[in-house]
């Protein structure tokens, strides 16, 4: 491919690309820069009040234990949701990729992925209907079981975890499925014919070869869960205070935007760190 482009081609490239990238710059990259600037202000610069540059907002994060405790709580929640999703989702992806064949597989795969592309807020709300006291879960269990049970999971940490696993499980199924599908069946047959047991095949062939896909799915779950706020609010009620809900509060309730911006940037730093660590894996998973 020639490196020197005709002037006409350069014009074409510019004309085709600039609208999309200008849009992304105005709507994503400039706002992120503006937020970085805001996080170093004492107050919003468009009110009547005085404002000046300060590092107070970041100091607040490091000196107020509440914030670091909540960030830690969010990270633990994300880890729990990720681990549960991987353990539930990987076998499911395996069955889809290796046990089921033909048109049935295509249909089932679509069924698994479909909820993921539907409205996440509505899906969280649907769990609220199921999990509430005197809700369908309790009535149903009491109809089946010989003894009375009291199931009110609503406004508890398990409710938040169930809702989040439901929201993000399809991610890990999707990425693991793609990785598993790429494994040549002949490889497995060859190992079997040479006397390898099922566990050996799983441990020595299937897991190593599908690991990039599995880990990519894990990262894709972990990152959004650390920043979740809607799910804990709806399903967690009073126990649903996390780092994400604190940021939300700064913007819609407390109106301390500079502090909110600083906390958002701390979250962004955490997210970028995770993405940077996992980028070799993600790159491997794509190819």
């Amino acid at each position: 491919m020639s490196t020197v482009l005709a002037k006409q081609d350069r014009l074409k490239i510019f004309g085709l690309l600039s609208p999309a990238y200008l849009w992304l710059t105005v709507a994503i990259f400039l706002p992120l820069s503006a937020m970085l600037y805001f996080s170093f202000l004492s107050d919003v610069p468009f009110g009547q009040k005085e404002w000046f540059h300060t590092t107070e907002n970041y100091k607040a994060f490091f000196t107020t234990p509440t914030y670091s405790i909540l960030l830690w709580k969010s990270l633990r929640l994300a880890l729990m949701v990720t681990v549960i999703s991987v353990f539930i989702g990987f076998p499911c992806a395996y069955v889809l990729a290796k046990t089921i064949k033909g048109r049935a597989r295509e249909a089932l795969f679509l069924l698994v992925i479909l909820p993921f592309w539907s409205n996440s807020l509505v899906r969280i709300f649907s769990w609220a209907i199921v999990l509430r006291g005197n809700g369908i879960l309790e009535v149903g269990l009491n109809a089946v079981l010989p003894f009375e049970v009291d199931v009110n999971l609503m406004f508890s940490t398990p409710a938040i975890v169930i809702g989040l696993v439901h929201s993000y499980l399809p991610y890990v199924i999707l990425t693991s499925y793609l990785a598993l599908q790429a494994i040549d069946d002949n490889l497995i047959d060859a190992a079997r014919s040479m006397g390898a047991g099922k566990l050996t095949i799983l441990w020595r062939i299937i897991l190593p070869l599908s690991l990039p896909g599995l880990l990519a799915g894990a990262v894709l779950i972990f990152v959004p869960v650390v920043g979740s706020f809607m799910e804990p609010r709806i399903l967690g009620g009073r126990v649903g205070t996390y780092f994400g809900t604190v940021i939300e509060d700064q913007f819609v309730a407390v109106y301390n935007w500079p502090l909110g911006a600083a906390l958002s940037f701390v979250l962004l730093a955490v997210v970028l760190l995770i993405l940077a660590i996992s980028s070799p894996i993600l790159r491997k998973a794509r190819t």
């Binding site: 482009l5 081609d9 350069r10 490239i13 085709l16 609208p19 999309a20 990238y21 849009w23 992304l24 105005v26 709507a27 706002p31 992120l32 937020m35 919003v44 610069p45 468009f46 989702g89 076998p91 069955v95 889809l96 295509e106 795969f109 698994v112 479909l114 909820p115 592309w117 539907s118 409205n119 996440s120 807020l121 509505v122 899906r123 709300f125 649907s126 769990w127 609220a128 209907i129 199921v130 509430r132 809700g135 439901h166 499980l169 999707l174 793609l178 599908q181 099922k198 990152v223 920043g227 706020f229 809607m230 994400g244 913007f251 935007w257 911006a261 958002s264 979250l267 962004l268 997210v271």
Partner: protein, 261 residues
């Protein structure tokens, strides 16, 4: 262990996962047809929540706004995204890799961060909250999806087809219209449906950017849930989930979600 038993256990596991994924949605839909306001069982069929919905001006307004925003977003994101995909596919130039990497942040950064950053920036430049801000945000979120989906389709395009057309005397515009566009059309349609879904289902960014009293449907549902549940919310939620699943089923016909076809 017997391998047929193992395979059947696997199928059972898959079945349980599907129950887990669909049960709450079905329960919600079921309850929207229940007469009781407090979700009391036994079930008694009634359309009253849907009738109440039809006369709820606030919800109708929000639904109309959501659909309009999604349509505008779809048109803008599909046009800009397709143009960018064609340039990224057709030309080799310096900085191309960088431009492809730039598509990653809008997808990978949690929407809470993107949404609050947009709120700050749009206030800073004097635009503030409101429908125009929501649309600007939605288009930016949908663009990377359109570019990824259309590029995937373009990658399967055989450039010799264009050469063949040219050798038979077709001009540039004729080739684009009669050869290239028909080939990538399924990709463009799938990209457009993805863009519609991203906008129609978007909650987080809309939540920070829409004006109180002028909000999109998901934002209105969120604020009503926090005031307390009513079967009316079940009814509108059921309608939303049916629409968004139908859109995605349609999109699946035109793209393969990364699976084989």
């Amino acid at each position: 262990m017997n391998s047929r038993l193992l395979a059947n256990l696997g199928r059972l596991w898959l079945g349980l996962i599907l129950v887990f994924l669909y049960a709450p949605i079905l329960v919600m839909a079921f309850m929207s047809f229940n007469a009781s306001q407090y979700y009391q069982l036994p079930f008694e069929f009634s359309m009253r929540w849907y009738e109440k919905l039809a006369s709820n001006g606030e919800i109708i307004d929000a639904a109309t706004r959501s659909v309009l925003i999604a349509i505008v977003t779809t048109i803008l994101a599909t046009t800009l995204g397709t143009a960018a995909s064609v340039a990224l596919f057709r030309f080799e130039f310096r900085g191309k890799r960088f431009l492809q990497v730039m598509l990653f942040p809008p997808i990978a950064i949690p929407w809470l961060i993107t949404g609050t950053a947009m709120l700050i920036f749009f206030f800073g430049v004097g635009l503030g909250r409101g429908t125009p801000s929501v649309i600007i945000g939605h288009v930016a979120l949908a663009l990377p999806y359109v570019i990824v989906v259309v590029s995937a389709r373009l990658a399967t395009f055989d450039a010799t087809l264009e050469e063949a057309a040219r050798s038979m005397g077709a001009g540039g515009w004729t080739i684009t219209r009669r050869v290239t566009l028909p080939w990538i059309a399924p990709g463009i349609i799938a990209g457009a449906l993805f863009a519609f879904a991203v906008s129609f289902d978007q909650f987080v960014v809309s939540y920070f950017l829409s004006e109180p009293g002028d909000s999109t449907l998901p934002v209105l549902i969120y604020t009503s849930i926090r005031k307390g549940f009513t079967p009316e919310i079940n009814a509108i939620s059921t309608i939303i989930i049916v629409i968004s699943m139908a859109v995605m089923l349609f999109a699946a016909r035109f793209s393969n979600f990364g699976g084989e076809r």
